[in-house]
Amino acid sequence: MQLRIYFIEFSYLLASILFVLGLKGLSHPETAKRGMHLAEFGMTMAIIGALMHFEIVSYTWIIVGLLVGSTLGAAMGVWVPMTAMPQRTALSHAFGAFAAALVGIAEYYSYTHGFKPIVQLGHLTMSAMGFEIMLGALTTTGSLIAFGKLQGIVPGKPLVYRGQNIFNMLLLATTIGLFIYLIFVPTAVIPFYLMLTFAFVFGILLVLPIGSADMPVVMSLLNSYAGLASAATGFVLSNNVLIIAGTLDGFSGFILSVLMCRAMNRSMTNVLFGAFGSAATVAGGEGEHGEMREVSLDDVAVQLAYAQQVVFVPGYGMATAQAQHVVRELGDTLEKRGVTVKYGIHPVAGRMPGHMNVLLAEANVPYSSLYELEQINPEFPTTDVVLVIGANDVVNPDARDNPNSPIAGMPILEVDHAKSVVVLKRGQGKGFSGLENPLFFKPNTGMLYGDAKDTLTKLVSAVQHA
């Protein structure tokens, strides 16, 4: 009996430690795999521990649930393409938060329907439970909307109507009001379910007005909410492994969103409450200046073929065009010809942290040839050709030169210092920030229009025959 408790607690403690070790492993690609195996082992221990609990009277539904979940999870894990990562992440936030919310509801239900002594439903428990349920609920629906937007099911462009902010604020206020009431009167069932519903609704209204471009930041925040929800569950069940894992999760989400903002230089507040507005509406930008020089594919091929050093700067466009494999092909072809090929990766290129790294890794580009902002910027002056593949904002010199630009101060890849720049894009389309990009008008910049994938495929063969 006593022994069993010890075993359970021990397995939880071990799990917590293994989770921390697992995340520590992620500090280097060499140790990352081992780290994950530790974390997986930790999770197994935690599950075994949970299965040992005395309260458990029947295992049927547990086992069915585990089986169904594993099948779904495995399927997801195997089939989801790397390019759909953002959607998948959003979806899994929804799942995680929903689970947390359900646990909270079930707990409350067991208290109010006499399965657990109602007297034990004290103020403290209720506050923790309230947090768990509110965070869980709003994160669930919020993440679902985010998923919809990223998947294109829900219209990506911000849905805005007059008095929206006021309404959202009021809704939030009511929800919190109910929460506070519940803390003092935990047994008030109707307020409880009202609060629950409102939280669900609030999640929707919170994310709907946000442009799909802003999703990554929102998602990271939802991530940390989901984490905090699990942590709150831990407080309710006074279960430490839940608290620890939840907190770690919450922090990673928080830190990632901070990093993203810094790299996009938006203030944290702007993001925390920017959720009530939308970046896409910033837009503007001061029309054409000068003209763009279009270059022919063959010229570019020759340039590349006879260059000393070429730097590829991939961006969101590479992701949408699924061009990562062709990029790698072109890289190999050039290296075979003795050209030094490097990849310049901006921290917020693409639409999620590390987006470009994963895509290129998928295309077997060794991470040793991916260079971060600080490493690659000094190299541009000695670079013959920079190939900008569907990147825009991350190479926008205005961020550096024009203090009035909305993205002023955002660190950029200074490709304009290179001897010559070739930009691959489909047309006049703007980047995520919706700004004009002076780079395209510089004398040493040439535009090569067309879908990145097609263009690159053509380039490969052209280079081979150059």
Partner: protein, 99 residues
């Protein structure tokens, strides 16, 4: 929840928060996407809570809620870890400098 257990929980929370900050802030941008899916998997820990509820037979409602919770969190755990492994397997060191 007794005040003692609340306090204990607060300590664990505070320390975990510090630790989270220290550990996560050391993850290089290269691995940010794997980090995201890894933490997804770990956040599936609510499975622990779900299992107990799904099994403790506190009436049909609770059991159903628990069951759904188990499904959701298991999906996260398995999916998260599978994808993370998949991603990490893709990250390769340069075989031999080609320049």
């Amino acid at each position: 929840m007794s005040s003692e257990s609340l306090i204990a929980a607060l300590y664990v929370f505070a320390l975990a928060a510090f630790l989270g900050y220290q550990v996560i802030s050391r993850v290089p941008p290269l691995l940010h996407t794997p980090l995201m899916s890894a933490t997804n998997a770990i956040s599936g820990i609510s499975l622990v809570g779900s299992i107990v509820i799904a099994g403790s037979g506190h009436g049909t409602v609770a059991t159903i809620l628990g069951f759904v919770a188990v499904v959701c969190s298991t999906t996260n755990v398995v999916g998260g870890f599978v994808i993370t492994d998949r991603m990490l397997r893709m990250f390769k060191r340069k075989e031999a400098p080609k320049k």
